[in-house]
């Protein structure tokens, strides 16, 4: 029982990261209909910059907002310079451009900081707290920071005029232009916010795994799965989807473990949990193609 709760705790902590990435993907998707395959590598790059700041002597909590600001700016610049001219290009061409971006960030990180793994200290002190037998302090911190970011974003989109304008631009660009809103800038801002959210995810996950250029590859896949499970057009759904995928993944490994211990039969272990989790996600999607929280869009002929 205790082990089960530990696994759920670890799953929630991973889920927080998947949720952030899923949210970043959804933020760009709702306004552009593109899945930013470079989102994970951008987050990885942000984590490296945070690490560099800390190497230069900054504290984590000073480095984090700095990196978020830098990532935000980078996101805006990428949208304005690289993606802007591609509006109206075939979807597959845009996918290839994302793959190009992904490899550029990957290669830059490897070139600047080498491919050797780096240990990143957790910004959260190891202290005892009620329930600390079930969840580590860094895991709890990951969940906490993610939840704060999510609430901040929700507040921004729900209660500020700029947030409202961004929602309007994503929903109906033509009408937003007729309301005098610069839709192009709203898209760029969306990219910036997504990059900043991704940066938080990267900085939070780096101490939990090791910092290396491949760090985000499987995390992006989980984030993508989370976004689709929740319904790709629903930000709240994406967050829930991320947490669901995180817990699911850990439970699969846990159950495989239990089965092996009790029956001696090996079915699934850590090596296959990704595969099994994805099979479940895809099974859910074949049964409910619009995701758990998405709404069905009807195509008119």
């Amino acid at each position: 029982m205790e082990q089960l709760l530990q696994q759920v705790g670890a799953g929630l902590a991973n889920g927080a990261i998947y949720a952030s990435l899923a949210l970043a993907l959804v933020m760009i998707f709702v306004s552009t209909n593109h899945i930013n395959f470079a989102q994970g590598e951008m987050a990885m790059f942000s984590a490296y910059i945070a690490w560099q700041f800390m190497e230069w002597g900054l504290s984590f909590w000073l480095a984090l907002p700095l990196v978020m600001a830098l990532s935000f700016t980078t996101g805006v610049v990428i949208e304005r310079t690289i993606l802007r001219p591609l509006h109206g290009a075939p979807v597959l061409s845009v996918v290839v451009v994302f793959i190009g971006l992904l490899t550029i960030f990957h290669a830059l990180a490897g070139g600047i900081w080498t491919y050797t793994i780096k240990a990143v200290p957790s910004p959260f002190p190891e202290v005892a707290f009620p329930g600390s037998g079930y969840i580590g302090s860094h895991q709890l911190g990951m969940i906490g920071v993610t939840v704060i970011v999510l609430i901040a974003l929700f507040t921004f989109f729900r209660f500020t005029p700029l947030g409202l304008a961004m929602r309007a631009a994503a929903q109906n660009p033509a009408s937003a232009r007729l309301a005098g809103i610069s839709v192009d800038w709203m898209l760029a801002l969306g990219w910036g916010l997504a990059a900043a959210v991704g940066a938080v995810a990267g900085c939070m996950v780096a101490p939990a795994v090791y910092l290396e250029p491949n760090m985000m590859a499987s995390i992006l896949l989980y984030g993508f799965a989370g976004a689709l499970v929740g319904g790709i057009s629903s930000p709240g759904g994406a967050v829930a989807g991320g947490f669901i995928v995180g817990v699911l993944e850990n439970l699969i490994a846990y159950l495989g473990n239990v089965v092996e211990r009790t029956t001696g039969l090996y079915i699934v272990g850590n090596g296959e949990k990704l595969t099994v989790a994805l099979v479940i996600v895809i099974a859910v999607l074949t049964l409910k193609p619009s995701g758990l929280f998405g709404h069905v869009t009807v195509e008119r002929v």
Binding site: S93, S218, G271, I282
Partner: protein, 351 residues
Amino acid sequence: MADTVASRNGTPAASAAGFVWGYRYGLLLVVLPLLLIAGGKAGFVSNFQFLQLSLMIVYAIAVLGLNLLTGFNGQISLGHGAFFAAGAYTAAILIDQHNWPLWATLPMAALVCFFAGYLFGLPALRLEGHYLALATFALAVAVPQILKYRHLEPITKGVMGINVFKSDPPFGLPLSTDQWMFLVVLAVAAFMFWIARNLLDSRTGRALIAIRDHSMAASTMGINVAHYKAVVFGISALYTGLAGALHGVIFEFVSPDSFRFELSIAILVGAVVGGIASLPGAVIGGVFVQVIEKYADALTKQISAAVQLPLELDPWLIYGIVLIALMYAMPTGIVGGMAVLWRRLKAMRGL
């Protein structure tokens, strides 16, 4: 192979022209390899270069497979590396553990991959766009894990992989193994492209394109959309799997880590860069996949040395920049870009 399906029509004159073209290509397909082999005999073309050429052709077949699915039928796949791996492993296991001859392995690998693709295509019918992208992406990530799966280890040999021995040229032909394999690969490719061309020119091909362009309209015209989509998934997997089998044989080794999801991405990039929904595009895409893999490294070193960069440039950096630049210059791929250029040239001459 000269043109895309959309631009072809079925008039007798056109089919006569097609015959002449086919004849010319056929001649080219005989003369060019003979010249190359002669070059090899004379020492101008090394065995290593024959291997490179073979790999380009192999990737062209793989890209063609994806092209049939994505380009002509509109289903996206980020996971064709999985079928490539399935083909390679089928061939490797049959040759290594069952002593099958090469000529029997290739059709078997193709058959296995057709069924794998067809079975995967059935549930994938319910998935479109990004959902299909995720499902295929997951397939690409899952395959190396499955190959390493403990209960499959006796067959797949786990992380160790399988060594495959190249077959020597038959009848005591005076050819090196690499030269012989080059001829085999080329013959298979020519045959497969010819099949693809005829397939696309048939009723089936028109149905596939109709489904891509408007699946609902296609179904009201009596096209069994589900059936066609699953079958084309199978055919697509067959092509890519056959390429994988050839790759395993000429590379003499298969292992789970040769088929990571980067391979799937490379195949997709090849298809888009070459030109989606175009047979010549598949050839260009295959060449692109291999050239980039081979020469990005050398190119990067030269550039780093030329501008005296303080840090080591990664070859993939150049790859990324090349991809973006290509998509800017030719959003519809190299074949599309050439067509635009050609039209402009003609317009200029017209003036």
